[in-house]
Amino acid sequence: MKMRQANIWFLVGLLQTIYGLILVLAGIRQLSHPPATALADLHATLWAGAAILVMGAIFVATNNPRRTRGKSSR
């Protein structure tokens, strides 16, 4: 893979997707094993994971290097 400037947005999205998945899994586990933090009943890990996952998916979809190749990057 050749790194171009436009690909950094794709890489950001990829990293967000991975982190989102990890956090969602950790969040699901914390539903039954709540961590010893304040406001644990709000399930912050799960919500944050879901939000990051959605953001990652948007970044990956809109910056896919296969689709945007040749188009001038913004």
Binding site: M3, L11, Y19, L23, A26, P35, A38, A40, R74
Partner: protein, 563 residues
């Protein structure tokens, strides 16, 4: 003693982060084969990438923790370092100064000074910049390792070497492009990791109104912690001990403009934009990003005031100077809040944010150092003529040696802790006189080479002299800062002001007695000798001036909102 430890999932998140930044370096390795690509990122950086890296490179190791701690100590006034102390200066750089920097095709700020004033000014500014940059990044590294030791129990040597070598690898492989692209990545990580604190903090305190109610109950003089201007009438009326004069002239005009318009660390990011409009648009985007950072820095400090200051709070914070072993200090406010809200997973992301903030600043230092060293010191003074490959190799080696030198500084700081304050003071010595030199060079065609050199030298010498005088004879403080009881921050602002003024006056006087360059040599470098740039017609939402005006209006409305 350590606050907490990381679960396996947290460690996985930190490890993936390290893998990602190294990946960017390795992917860029093959195309980084010319000095143009290593030092100047092929002058092809787009506006969003340049704008975000502009702000990320500016972050120090302790950006998040340090400013949250200052907010805990001094209240909401710290937000001015992000608003009035940054935004007008960034917009000035974008709209007024960028055309000269960009059209001179200079490779660095010292490079611009050579075109305008000749070799001596360049050598002086390049030498001081190179030395200070490395010292600062070493000090930052030490500070970061210290936090990791305190918070997570990580070994000091491990933190120093792991983070420094990672930065070295990705900068040596991919040069400036690698540093810039990773800064974009780090910018997003900082936000993802840190945002949990303001969100959950506001929920716990009952929103902004609940938070202010709590602070008013917790603190005797709460109004000075919640307003940015209304308590600046006199230094005694606010916890920081500054007045409106210090904020407007010291912070906004000299410190802010000096830093954002002449510090090559940040200016480099926008000098390599792909065209002039991009180079102007990037700082404007950066200004909006800078304006938003108080959400993850200042707001946590205020939330700390709402939570830890309460009667009956199990955690009690004391100032650094009064801390005994086992006490929590103001500096711990952000880590403590992170631990309070972030369970396994989010904690790893938060720690990643702290590391990313440190690395973005460090990589910025290293890449700026490599450019200045190779183009402004090595090429003119050591080896004038060499092949392209040779300079590329020098760039890679100087990045690596720069990192090693920083590590050396970090170990030096380990044994002489007070060195940290010295270097931070030293750094401010060089920024403010340089601002006067660049300002006169850009806007006064009568300024001469001799004037610039002697002005710069006198400005630097006078600030070192004032600093030394106050350290040797404490009574000298009342001559430097007009008050024998000035706080270190006030002394700093006044010292910067005096060195700026010295440089300005000396440059003007010497210039009037020496022969200026003919106007024909100043085209493109000086205001008034430069034909107006032909701006390609673009729709209004692509014009930097439109967005700069919007940024200025936003920052002014924020002043009114938090008056």
């Amino acid at each position: 003693m350590q606050f907490t430890h990381l679960a396996p999932v947290d460690l996985a998140i930190v490890a993936i982060y390290f893998a990602a930044v190294l990946l960017v370096g390795f992917l860029l390795k093959r195309e980084t084969n010319t000095s143009e690509s290593f030092f100047l990122a092929n002058r092809s950086i787009t506006s969003w990438v340049a704008g975000l890296s502009f702000v990320a490179a500016n972050m120090g190791a302790l950006e998040l923790m340090g400013w949250a701690a200052s907010t805990y100590e001094y209240g909401i006034i710290t937000v001015q370092w992000y608003w009035i102390g940054s935004v007008p200066a960034i917009l000035f750089l974008a709209i007024v100064m960028m055309p000269f920097y960009y059209r001179s095709r200079a490779t660095s700020v010292p490079g611009y000074l050579r075109q305008r004033f000749g070799e001596p000014s360049r050598a002086l500014s390049a030498g001081s910049f190179a030395a200070m940059t490395l010292l600062m990044s070493g000090i930052n590294m030490f500070a970061m390792a210290k936090v990791m030791q305190l918070m997570l129990g990580w070994n000091l040597h491990f933190s120093i070497w792991a983070s420094a070598l990672t930065v070295a690898i990705y900068v040596v492989l991919g040069g400036l492009t690698s540093a810039i692209l990773n800064e974009v990545l780090q910018f997003f990580l900082i936000w993802m990791g840190a945002l949990v604190i303001p969100i959950l903090g506001l929920i716990e305190c009952g929103g902004w109104s609940g938070l202010t109610r709590r602070i008013i109950t917790n603190l005797p003089h709460a109004s000075s912690y919640l307003h940015v201007w209304s308590t600046l009438g006199s230094p005694q009326a606010n916890p920081m001990g500054v007045d409106w004069f210090g904020i407007i002239f010291g912070l906004a005009l000299v410190a802010g403009f000096g830093y954002w318009t002449t510090d090559f660390l940040v200016v480099q990011r926008v000098m390599v934009a792909r065209d002039l409009r991009t180079a102007q648009m990037a700082p404007v985007i950066g200004a909006f990003a800078k304006m938003a950072i108080p959400i993850i820095v200042v707001l946590p400090g205020l939330i700390g005031l709402g939570i830890f200051m309460r009667n009956g709070s199990p955690i009690h914070l004391v100032p650094e100077t009064a801390a005994r072993v086992g006490d929590y200090t103001y500096n711990d406010v952000l880590p403590l809040l992170l631990i309070r809200y972030a369970g396994p997973g989010l904690l790893g992301l938060g720690v990643t944010a702290l590391i990313a903030g440190f690395m973005s600043g460090m990589a910025g230092n290293v890449s700026a150092f490599a450019t200045v060293w190779t183009y402004d010191i090595y090429q003119p003074l050591i080896r004038r003529i060499a092949t392209e490959r040779h300079y590329l190799a020098v760039g890679r080696w100087s990045s690596l040696l720069g990192v090693l030198f920083s590590i050396g500084t970090a170990y030096f700081a380990l044994h002489f802790t007070s060195i940290m304050d010295y270097v931070q003071a030293l750094f401010s010595f060089f920024v403010s006189p340089l601002f006067a030199t660049v300002l006169l060079g850009m806007f006064w065609k009568r300024a001469t080479s001799a004037g610039a050199f002697w002005g710069l030298l006198c400005g630097m010498v006078i600030s070192i002299f004032m600093w030394g005088a106050v350290r040797t004879f404490p009574s000298a403080l009342k001559f430097v800062a007009f008050s024998a009881s000035a706080k270190p921050m006030a002394e700093n602002l006044y010292r910067m002001w005096w060195s700026w003024l010295t440089c300005l006056v000396v440059t003007i006087v010497v210039s009037l007695f020496t022969v200026p360059k003919p106007a024909s040599e100043l085209a493109g470098l000086v205001y008034g000798c430069t034909p107006k740039a032909v701006i390609e017609p673009v729709t209004w939402w692509h014009r930097p001036k439109v967005w700069a005006a919007l940024a200025l209006c936003t920052v002014l409305s924020l002043q009114w909102l938090f008056w």
